[in-house]
């Protein structure tokens, strides 16, 4: 048995060596990550916008670095679905980025409560934004914690060639909207509305929260739910849910399992006339070279005040545990300047500046979207502010309930009653 024992001993030695080597590499890896290079400060920016990485790295950050020598900015993207989890675990583990991109409203409110951010009220950049713009990222007492970088709008994209061919004009009231849909359906060659119910958020954000504000009068209805003076079972909300469900006859077959990507394909291939979508997908909607226009959510009755969904999308805040606060603050100040805003919104068509300084948009469709804001009162999505901070969150709940309306024929009255009942189970109005 001598040979076996020798073999064993040799194996053991190799194994021990391998273990040591692995540990050694691990240590070397730790040491290698933190090399200082002269006086240069490197700050990191955590974000969920993986799709904008090239834009930030090639167009935005170099402009900042040019005017702020000695500061290097590293863009640190995580996929949007994993972003919240990543930020939470990195902060808990003490490895958070210096700058954190902020989710609007309740998620951010929880982060503020957990002490993730530094108070930004001392910054000059803050004065470049209205209180409404800052509100999505402010604490309960109105203290700003994030500098707003971009908002998104929602509306209806339409294929201008199909509209011209069928002699249709852009609808201004809901009645005209349904006439247009009927005409496209009667013609039979095109799907009137590229919409599916597989992605619940799609029904909520791009349909209900788009046409709904014209029914519940924007902020009046939204804040009414928050202070408890209004209920989802009030007629203006039931009507909005009903109007959403009235679109069902105009959807493609098998819409129950069509995802957001499918809708986009259907529209960009020229097979559907209208796509309810957010401004963030301008690039996607025009990718195949079809002529696309955009119209605002139609009003209920001719002459009504028009409301438009403007959703605060991204802000950037300062990690309270950052070791490079000075450099990070300089970056935040820069976010309030027109220099940043015009670079940013023009490199990223579909995202809109929330600052007080006017910005012009090179992309024609982005300008068209921005023009929809004229004469309209702006309002964010219905359920994200406060109403989604408990179980069940109204936002997630709305997605699910809208799906039951689209897939199982649940009535608007029942749907809104369910939502209000769930909301009442945990929410005490702030008013």
């Amino acid at each position: 048995m001598r040979s076996t024992s020798q073999l064993r001993r040799r194996t053991a030695t190799v194994l021990a060596a391998a273990t040591l080597a692995a540990v050694g590499f691990g240590l070397a890896g730790c040491a290698g990550g933190d090399t200082p290079s002269g006086d240069e400060v490197t700050i990191t920016l955590a974000t969920w916008r993986t799709e904008d990485t090239t834009m930030w790295e090639n167009d935005v950050i170099p402009v900042f670095e040019k005017s702020h020598p000695g500061i290097k900015v590293v863009y640190q993207p995580t996929d949007t679905n994993d972003y919240n989890a990543t930020v939470q675990s990195s902060i808990a583990g003490g490895t958070g980025a210096d700058l954190l991109m902020c989710r609007p409203f309740d998620v951010n409110r929880a982060w503020i409560a957990d002490g993730y951010f530094d108070d930004l009220s001392g910054l000059d950049a803050v004065s470049n934004f209205t209180e409404t713009a800052l509100a999505a990222w402010a604490g309960d007492d109105g203290t700003p914690y994030c500098i707003p970088t971009a908002s998104v709008l929602a509306g209806f994209y339409y294929n201008t060639a199909i509209f011209d061919e069928l002699g249709l004009k852009v609808p201004e009231t809901m009645d005209e909207f349904f006439d247009v849909l009927d005409a496209i359906k009667a013609d039979g060659r095109y799907t009137p509305l590229a919409l599916g119910s597989a992605d619940g958020w799609q029904l909520a954000y791009n349909v209900l929260d788009s046409i709904g504000p014209n029914y519940w009068k924007g902020e009046e209805g939204r804040l009414g739910l928050i202070d408890g003076s209004k209920k989802l079972t009030d007629p203006e909300f039931v009507d909005a849910f009903q109007a959403t469900a009235d679109l069902i006859p105009y959807l493609p077959d098998g819409y129950q399992s069509l995802s957001y990507e499918d809708m986009m394909q259907l529209f960009t291939l020229g097979k559907a006339a209208i796509l309810p979508d957010g401004s963030w997908d301008i690039t996607g909607a025009t990718a195949t070279g079809i002529d696309v226009g955009v119209f605002a959510p139609p009003v209920v009755n001719a002459g009504d005040q028009r409301y438009l969904q403007e959703m605060p999308d991204q802000g950037i805040g300062l990690n309270a545990a950052s070791e490079h606060k000075e450099a990070a603050t300089e970056f935040l100040e820069w976010l309030g300047t027109p220099e940043f805003q015009s670079v940013y919104v023009n490199k990223l068509p579909g995202f809109f500046s929330m600052g007080n300084d006017p910005v012009s948009y090179d992309n024609a469709l982005a300008q068209e979207f921005a023009d929809l804001k004229d004469g309209a009162l702006l309002t964010p999505r219905l359920a994200l502010d406060r109403l989604s901070a408990g179980q069940p969150p109204l936002d997630d709940d709305t997605w699910a309930v809208l799906q039951t309306m689209f897939n199982e024929g649940v009535s608007a009255a029942d749907a809104t009653a369910t939502l209000q009942e769930h909301l009442d189970s945990w929410y005490t109005p702030a008013g």
Partner: protein, 292 residues
């Protein structure tokens, strides 16, 4: 032989690295997650059983948990009922003399899906069954009754190679003499398989069933890949894994609740532990193994 002391030292050397990794990355997180379920972490106070009471009595949370539990059970049963027989059939075909020449090719082809990324499997199948561009016009993923079975079958398609390999190796281990003896006694292929080979590989089924159970109750990836963290329609495909993820980490429309999330994780752990223990105590001991 090596002396006993030296032998133990040698054994320790082999065991320690794995044990260290296991304790650091499995035992410690597990225990700290159990600890978290008894806490109110925002206030850093001990919550006792409050989180558990909430999970089982809060009308909304308990309803979601009930749905997720039933869905996980369905997910497991579909795997068990579909995957194992197909795996057995494939293993039997692989060991049959008809394809002796190309056995390696078939074995590889049948096992390849198990090596694919779940995201790719989900994406490809979603296109195949897409009502707009795919083969079926019925919205399989959009209908609350068909969505979960559809996703389960995608997963079965992907992982059928695993029970197949288990059973295939067991079939290969059946001694040629026994088979030959049976043949001489006049057994046809059918009798040979069901009366000779099947009883010899039977203990494998218990193992496959319990592994499938553990794996499906910890399941998450394919559902998340197809439906995100609030898998619809109306939570029809929500399983324990996605409910845990959504609760613990939060989603775009939901604030994270790590305490309740840890409670769900602990309950799931307890369920799996209890079932697995019961299985080993009650069943595994009674399974007859034939002495050869």
């Amino acid at each position: 032989m090596i002396r006993t002391a030296a032998r133990y030292r040698l054994l320790a050397l082999f065991v320690l690295p794995a044990l260290a990794v296991y304790v650091l990355f499995s035992v410690y997180p597990l225990l700290s997650s159990v600890a978290l379920s008894f806490m109110r972490s925002r206030e850093h106070t001990f919550a006792g059983l409050d989180n558990y009471v909430r999970l089982f009595t809060d009308p909304f949370v308990s309803e979601r948990f009930g749905t997720a539990l039933l869905n996980s059970l369905e997910f497991f049963l579909i795997h068990l009922v579909v995957e194992v027989p197909i795996g057995l059939l494939m293993a039997a075909l692989l060991t049959s003399s008809v394809i002796r020449r190309s056995r390696g090719v078939y074995r590889t082809i049948l096992f390849v899906p198990a090596t694919l990324s779940v995201v790719i499997v989900g994406f490809v199948w979603r296109l195949i069954i897409n009502p707009l561009w795919g083969l079926v016009s019925f919205p399989l993923l959009g209908d609350a009754t068909t969505a979960l079975p559809t996703i389960s079958l995608m997963s079965v398609w992907q992982y059928v190679g695993i029970p197949m390999i288990f059973l295939y190796t067991a079939l290969l281990a059946v001694p040629e003499e026994v088979v030959e003896a049976a043949r001489i006694d006049g057994a046809g292929p059918w009798t040979l398989f069901w009366r000779i080979k099947f009883p010899l590989i039977a203990p494998q089924f218990g193992l496959i069933a319990i592994l499938t159970y553990i794996w499906t109750f910890n399941g998450f990836d394919i559902v998340y890949a197809l439906g995100g963290s609030a898998p619809g329609p109306n939570y029809a495909t929500d399983i324990l894994g996605t409910m845990f993820y959504r609760t613990f980490f939060g989603s775009s429309g939901q604030v994270a609740d790590p305490d309740l999330g840890a409670t769900i994780a602990t309950v799931v752990f307890a369920i799996i532990l209890a079932t697995t223990a019961a299985y080993f105590v009650v069943l595994q001991r009674r399974i007859k193994t034939y002495e050869l």
